[in-house]
Amino acid sequence: MKLQEYTSSTHNFEECMKCTVCTAYCPVLQVNPLYPGPKQAGPDGERLRLKDPFFFNYALKYCLNCKRCEVACPSGVKVADLIQAARIKYDTSPPKWRDRLLASTDFMGSLARPVAPIANAVTGLGVTRTMMDAMFKIDHRRTFPKYSPYSFEFWMGRHEKEQAAFGEQVAYFHGCYVNYNYPRLGKDLVKVLNALGVGVQLLDKEKCCGIAMITNRMTKEATRNAKHNVSELSKAVDKGLMVLTTSSSCTLTLRDEYPSLLGVDNSSVRDFVIMASRYIYERLEKGAALRFKPDYHKKVAYHTPCHMEKLGWGVFSEKLLRMIPGVEFTMLDSACCGIAGTYGFKRENYEASQAIGQPLFDQIKAVNPDVVACDCETCKWQIEMSTGYTVMNPISILAEAIDNNKTE
């Protein structure tokens, strides 16, 4: 390389032109004056922090990690990565118990799932919510996702043989939500893939992708999970399998957050981990066909989750949904719903969280769809709780629309 032929900096912070476009698109800034905003928290703050960690600002915790600043940045600065990396590096106080609790989706799921009816009943109780608010500052107005009485892994175990019978195979990284709360989404994916002649298998043992651990500064735990998952993914990739996902946040974490925030090298597996909607779209583009129910009709409004926006793959979900005959498609303005994983569950963020989502909720009510489509489970909770509309993953809508008997 010749001297100064190109320049580089951590998360591209030196490419910032100080144009302030990111601040115009930050959802937090619009509702929380305590948050310094992505430009100040990110590239501006980075120069000062490099001078002296004294300049670390604890208000960085208000960042949602929605990455909309990065999508908006005309210069390619990884603004949100800068902010999260700074939190990891400089905020050395131990995470609160509440944050640990919220972030341990895997652990909580495995505890609650066997006693799902009780757990659901308990977390639904007014008194429990008041207690959680008082003890852990988990906002009492928040509804909790229900736990499933059986795990998706259990269900897959019972269908292993029939799945293995398919000539073509893919692996599925289901994530905590499908496993503990909503196995139906996993089953829907299996249905659609089977209809395309593809069998599904699981990784030997997946662990939570760790996104909630990252934003709650449980870096050690997150790194452990990341290393584990990369090695599990490698096994699948070595077998020649693509690894599909149905959650945009898990996908972003597996592909991009591992190397950029945790320093875990995933280069050997990254390109093989893709959203199921992209995989299915590509199959159909290459000539595979799905048969749809002739009488299917649904008014679908698609919400692009923040991390889907960051992945840049919303287009695949959109095009898939538009392909379904009988779907009346509306694209909602791309905007954050406000939940951002565990962020909205924290009492200090509840008001901000709902205020951030308000424009989206208003638009949904104005469109009045039969169902809102979106590829993220936490958006689903937030939108369902805040609007009363049902939210479905595009894969589930696809599964509902296909005519199993007639698909070749």
């Binding site: 010749k2 032929e5 032109m17 601040t23 115009a24 619009q30 005309p74 840049g312």
Partner: protein, 377 residues
């Protein structure tokens, strides 16, 4: 994914081309590395000193009213520039004496609007000026943050409380025939602008602020919405990282987000802007075009790139991608037959197409016409 045309760069040029092609029934995709120079738009399409029906129609269909009359427009530092086709925010005047008396209104604690410079500039033209700062409790929330008394954040508030502003100004107004306000109104649409103009019994002149530009962001939102309504695919936050070029034609492009899912098309338009937007890249040795490695017209020696006087014209700003008469981009001196370069990536290599916004629109329409002509053939 395959389209009739893939457009790299989603600013004014890219969106104009995209809308034109979608309207003509071509499927297109726009790939845009984040937001673009429309966020710093002055509100006037530089060098477009007329109002071609085709352009005004295209914008009107997106909900953007453009107007033009010969004369001048008032700049934020109190100077005047030649009039050109402008958004409805921008007032165009036949002469620099824009009124007898002007009331300049801003907000306490807002440093991105230059009242005293405006007043001095106007007084030189014989306009008597009075400056008033509004102290609105609704802005207190913004004041709490040291970096948020900025145009866009104020505009969000103003779009809610414009009636208060009208009321306050009516109280302040004495015998002024002109009221000058910062461009912090109408982030989503222009209805607030007309309501304010109706509500104040004087001519209201919305004048620019430090970026981001509120009229610019609105223009971006409306054009993008129009483009998507016409069925266009806008891939925001993605970047073209490479291209497959065979036999003098582009086959597909590679993007950062889509990886090995290439974007194929019959035609490609390159509207990635100049240096700021990274349409042109520079290092100590040369200026280059990063996606296709196109020919860039430039002076060979770096010391010729600059004029040491800041306010003078800078040679580097004139450099741009070389094109043939129908805007096909050149590589190794040969035109790539289905690749068109439009907008500010052309620099001043095509002076007949103008500069700034005028260049963006003229070149975008020319490229779209060329594509449609070839598609029909």
């Amino acid at each position: 994914m395959k389209f009739n045309t893939v457009i790299i760069g989603g600013g004014l040029a890219g969106l104009t081309a995209g809308i034109s092609l979608q309207k003509a029934g071509c499927s297109t995709a726009i790939i845009s590395t984040g937001q673009n120079a429309l966020h710093f738009f002055s509100g006037t399409l530089e060098s477009m000193e007329d109002a071609p029906q085709r352009v005004t129609d295209l914008f009107a269909e997106a909900g953007i009213a453009l107007h033009y009359t010969p004369g001048v427009r008032l700049m934020p530092m109190g100077t005047f520039k030649k009039a050109a086709l402008s958004l409805e925010d921008i007032s165009l005047f036949p002469e620099t004496k824009i009124g007898q008396k002007a009331l300049i209104v801003s907000f306490t604690g807002y440093h991105d609007f230059f009242c005293s410079f405006l007043a001095e500039g106007l007084e030189k033209q014989g306009v008597q000026c009075r400056i008033k700062l509004l102290n609105l409790p609704e802005l207190e929330q913004l004041e709490k943050s040291p970096s948020e008394m900025r145009s866009v954040q104020i505009a969000r508030t103003m779009d809610r409380i414009w009636e208060t502003v009208v009321r306050e100004i009516r109280i302040l107004l004495r015998d002024e025939d002109t009221v000058i306000l910062p461009q912090v109104f109408g982030l989503r649409d222009t209805s607030v602008l007309s309501r304010i103009r109706q509500g104040i019994p004087a001519q209201v002149v919305f004048t620019g602020t430090l970026p981001p530009s509120v009229p610019g962001i609105r223009t971006q939102i409306l054009l993008k919405r129009r483009y998507e309504l016409l069925g266009g695919t806008y891939l925001m936050g993605d970047e073209a990282t490479g291209a497959h070029v065979y036999d003098g034609a582009v086959h597909s492009i590679v993007t950062h987000n889509l990886g090995n899912h290439f974007l194929e098309a019959d035609n490609f338009i390159l509207s990635t802007g100049a240096f700021f937007s990274k349409g042109l890249k520079s290092n100590p040795f040369e200026i280059s075009e990063p996606v296709f490695g196109l020919d860039v017209e430039q002076a060979g020696d770096r010391s010729d790139w600059y004029n040491p006087e800041f306010m003078r014209e800078q040679p580097y700003m004139k450099y741009g991608v070389a094109t043939d008469s129908s805007l096909h981009a050149l590589k190794g001196g040969e035109p790539i037959k289905n690749l068109y370069a439009i907008g500010s990536i052309l620099g001043e290599t095509r002076p007949e197409l103008g500069t700034g916004g005028g260049l963006a629109i003229r070149s975008a329409l020319a490229a779209a016409d060329e594509i449609l002509k070839n598609t029909k053939e």
